[in-house]
């Protein structure tokens, strides 16, 4: 098992494997996102309560679901960096943070755009999902700023790994503390976001397709930036020179 695990750790192996997977993944991504968007915008029946805004929900649910996966990803990559001191895990974690911050921001933006219609307010403090996503965004900014502040690479790898693990725990704690906080200030928030039963099965098929597309997109953008990181960090390796020559 360790041979496989050590092999996984070598940037060269990752570069080759991701090179082979990239075309297939991007093809699948373009298909699924394109298909889901066309389907959602054109063919989705209007929902009796939200009207056409259920189209926003398709994107929002997909992006929100994916952005929730970022902190656990960074925490696991951080744990691997701390325990096995694997450079590749640090590279992945380093590139996951900006993308994660973008994802959190997009979730907040689409959520409030949707909320402005159905809840009538752009921001709802009593909804624990919104508030925990907001603080996930802040924690990601914290990890990114720590990463850029520490110029010593190896040290910033470990420091950010530790902060990512703490941040991951913290997001969960914040989510529940806001939920309990919720009970005092406003007994129940008006509408639950999962309007699934209201929109009928077709809505969920489109959303699932969109979720698949967005997850593929997350994988692709992470792979692309990690490959750049590998080229930069291993620039004096022989195999990198070969790539430079023949590309």
């Amino acid at each position: 098992m360790w041979v496989w695990f050590a092999k996984l750790g070598s940037p060269k192996w990752f570069y080759e494997i991701s090179g082979r997977w990239l075309p297939w993944m991007s093809g699948a991504m373009v298909l699924s996102i394109g298909f889901a968007t066309v389907w959602a915008l054109l063919f989705l029946p209007p929902d009796y309560q939200q009207g056409y805004t259920s189209r926003i929900l398709v994107v929002h649910v997909a992006v929100a679901g994916t952005s929730l996966a970022f902190f656990p990803l960074m925490a696991v990559a951080g744990a691997i960096t701390l325990v096995w001191k694997m450079k590749l895990a640090d590279m992945v974690a380093k590139n996951a943070a900006p993308i994660g911050a973008w994802f959190s921001f997009l979730t907040l933006a689409t959520g409030s755009l949707w909320g402005s219609v159905t809840w009538g307010t752009w921001w709802e403090w009593s909804d624990s999902r919104l508030v925990s996503m907001l603080f996930q965004f802040f924690l990601m900014i914290g990890v990114i700023s720590l990463r850029s502040a520490l110029d010593d690479n190896d040290q910033s790898a470990r420091a950010c790994a530790l902060l990512a693990i703490l941040g991951c725990i913290n997001v969960v704690v914040i989510k529940y503390s806001v939920e309990w906080w919720n009970t005092l200030h406003q007994p129940a928030s008006a509408v639950t976001i999962g309007g699934g039963d209201v929109n009928g099965p077709e809505f969920w098929v489109v959303t699932l397709l969109m979720i698949l597309g967005v997850y593929l997109f997350m994988g692709i953008s992470l792979i692309l930036s990690t490959r750049n990181e590998i080229l930069e960090r291993e620039k004096n390796a022989v195999w990198v020179q070969e790539i430079a020559n023949d590309s």
Binding site: D152, N153, D154, R233
Partner: protein, 201 residues
């Protein structure tokens, strides 16, 4: 006593030193020399355990250093570039707190160690009033009270006048004679008889 097996240290894709092996028996004084940035300080910090960006083995008294870290740290005295002297405290307070975590010295012992180091009359003044040389002497006075077999000294001779240098040199010799080990990095020409040198550059 101390053995390094194929030690190599790479920091931020820069190899500081590679498969360095060294065996230090009790009574040895080893001077680690090399140009600036050749990894002297990193080698010392790797040995004492502050820096763990290294591959290879560090063995203390025959077994892995990490198998019993407490015992290793009990036997180690480390004096870094920054000598661990708080400017706000007086020499005696600094000495009390830097040695106090290992041995509970009495006031008399502390005063005696300071006076041996030429700090009579300055024992109770805050260190920012002292000169750089005096501050270095105040930090070095914990060597008088040290019973750790291994000393790791990083550039201990900075800002010392000739008299203090002589004092430190025979202190090191005296420690070696008692069966201790001293690893020291310095650009100063050490007048110590059985001196072994390791050149990193």
């Amino acid at each position: 006593m101390l053995e390094l097996k194929k030690l190599s240290c790479e920091r931020n894709d820069r190899v500081l030193f590679e498969n360095l092996s060294l065996l230090v028996e009790s009574g040895d004084v080893v001077q680690i020399s090399g140009s600036n940035g050749s990894g002297k300080t990193s080698l010392l910090r790797v040995i004492c355990g502050l820096n763990d960006y290294f591959t290879g083995g560090v063995f203390w008294k025959g077994e892995m250093r990490d198998s019993d870290v407490e015992a290793f740290r009990n036997d180690l005295l480390f004096l870094g570039h920054r000598v661990g002297l708080s400017k706000l405290l007086s020499p005696i307070e600094n000495l009390k707190w830097s040695t106090g975590r290992k041995i509970d010295w009495s006031e008399k012992d502390l005063l005696q160690a300071l006076s041996r180091n030429g700090l009579q009359g300055f024992e109770y003044q805050p260190c920012f009033l002292l000169s750089a040389g005096q501050q270095q002497r105040a930090a070095l006075s914990k060597l008088y009270l040290s019973n750790e077999p291994m000393w790791i000294l990083d550039e201990p001779f900075n800002a010392l006048d000739s008299e203090a240098i002589g004092m430190l040199e025979n202190l090191i010799m005296q420690h070696a004679r008692r069966g201790g080990i001293v690893l020291v990095t310095t650009h100063h020409k050490l007048k110590i008889p059985s001196l072994r040198t390791v050149d990193l550059s």
